[in-house]
Symmetry: C2
Subunit: 86 residues, 2 copies
């Protein structure tokens, strides 16, 4: 489910953007020029995958990469159970 969420160009761009710093949806729209409702749809998929977190700030909703998102993405790759030092 995590990989399914990441393996979409739009959602990948969202994650790459949020990996730099949290942003409100309106700023995400500046960097990812798609319809607002479509962006909202993809953000929902990322939310349900637990890869991003949200917090409302007035009229704006800030999105941030979940703290464990990088780890969970790496762990989701096949063969991720090896190559870990105790």
């Amino acid at each position: 489910m995590v990989l399914q969420a990441v393996a979409d160009p739009i959602r990948w761009a969202v994650l790459a953007t949020l990996a730099q710093s949290p942003r409100c949806v309106c700023r995400l729209q500046d960097q990812i020029p798609i319809a607002g409702n479509l962006l909202s749809y993809h953000l929902k998929v990322l939310r349900e995958a637990g890869l991003v977190t949200t917090s409302r700030r007035g009229r704006w909703v800030d999105y941030a990469l979940a703290h464990d998102a990088p780890e969970r993405m790496r762990a989701a790759l096949p063969g991720a159970q090896v190559a870990v030092s105790a």
Copy 2:
């Protein structure tokens, strides 16, 4: 394209199996109980993504994880450009 290839349950299982050791298609079928032609289709997707390599051995075709597959999968994740020591 790499992530698209990995983000499918069947292909994920194929990659996880091949991460242990190379196998011919018939042995893959033992571990992944699906129709032969369907498995062949997914193997083709993995081939085109460059994640697996093949070699014919008599009537059998052996599949193996591409040597750079783990690296390429990790590099395909968003935010993969950071945390690399020169």
